[in-house]
Symmetry: C2
Subunit: 170 residues, 2 copies
DNA sequence: AATCAAATGTTATATTATAACATCCGCTAG
DNA sequence: CTAGCGGATGTTATAATATAACATTTGATT
């Protein structure tokens, strides 16, 4: 049983996985995809992506703005929103609609639209391909005659790690 | 083949179903549920619900504010947001997270969380219970050990009626 | 009549996002 | 080489969405 004090306040489950690996994989993939696609992962865009990957939590645009200012003194809302637009177009991040926030995408390049499990305790977002769910959705669209452009499948609750750490599962 | 001119601009598919019946059913159900639950469907709340049910489109909070002002001269943002909070708590409306907008719930009282199909052409929102999807989701949560509090399953695209009306399906 | 809770009124402000136009910078057609 | 073009960024302003905090009203209960 892990105690609350053992876990960092900002990154509650950080000790439980090699986060540097998450970051380097995400950045490597992003750099590679941008080269292949002939689009520019400029310094600003790269920095925003890195800031987003600081954790597995969904991050607000204005929080990113605050955090990028030491690096980009001239940064304004448009600076961040343009970078976010680019990163979303390239499938490198998810917009979490129900939080107005953004989180790194672990599966850039393959299937981008995934089930997002959003923990209310630690605020981390877990992506799951959820292939059975996606298949059931496809059948539903066919039945409804609906032509899909984009999906947002977001679920809020308590993740397995927090459920183990806390008894109170509001 | 229906032409564009035949359809109302605001309610493109209104001729295709008895919308008065949608509204009266929704309001009757709401009134009944509130009595049963011992909560107050006050005039403001009732008016907001009626305004939302004016169509099957998702409506913005400030649009509701504009539309309620003739009836409630003193209406301010809080007036609307409080009514919306109440209606959501009672499961009488859905918040469409990906639009920051609101739409009436046809199945208040039974299962509230549903698949929402959101048409980019007519802006109408179709609710579907999508039981296979929900079952697949439940299995996914079990596998992930995730304790669900709420779900938002929102899909954007072109509805079957608009697909029939328009060739250009952006 | 006193009091309490729920709803609403009211003012102010926080948060999220975009519009519009200016500038910079690397590339390439002439 | 240089004029011009497109993409990225800088800059200012403002739009759109949402909440906080405190005052007042109202109807039910004691």
């Amino acid at each position: 049983m892990t105690t609350l004090a053992e876990a960092s306040l900002n990154h509650p489950h950080s000790s439980e996985h090699d986060h540097k690996k998450c970051v380097s994989e995400a950045l490597d993939t992003a750099e590679h995809l941008c080269v292949v696609r002939g689009v520019q992962l400029t310094p600003i865009r790269h920095q925003v992506l890195e800031l987003i990957w600081d954790s597995h939590k969904a991050v607000k645009a204005y929080e990113l703005l605050d955090r990028i200012k030491p690096l980009q003194n001239a940064a304004k809302p448009a600076t961040i929103y343009r970078a976010l637009d680019f990163l979303m177009e390239q499938g490198l991040i998810h917009r979490v609609e129900s939080l107005n926030a953004f989180v790194g995408c672990s599966s850039s390049g393959h299937q981008h639209e995934q089930l997002l499990l959003i923990c209310k305790h630690c605020n981390e977002v877990e992506e799951r391909p959820a292939t059975e769910v996606m298949q059931a959705l496809s059948q539903e669209f066919d039945q409804a005659g609906f032509i899909v452009h984009s999906k947002a499948i977001e679920v809020h609750g308590i993740c397995i790690k927090c459920a183990a750490l806390y008894d109170d599962q509001d």
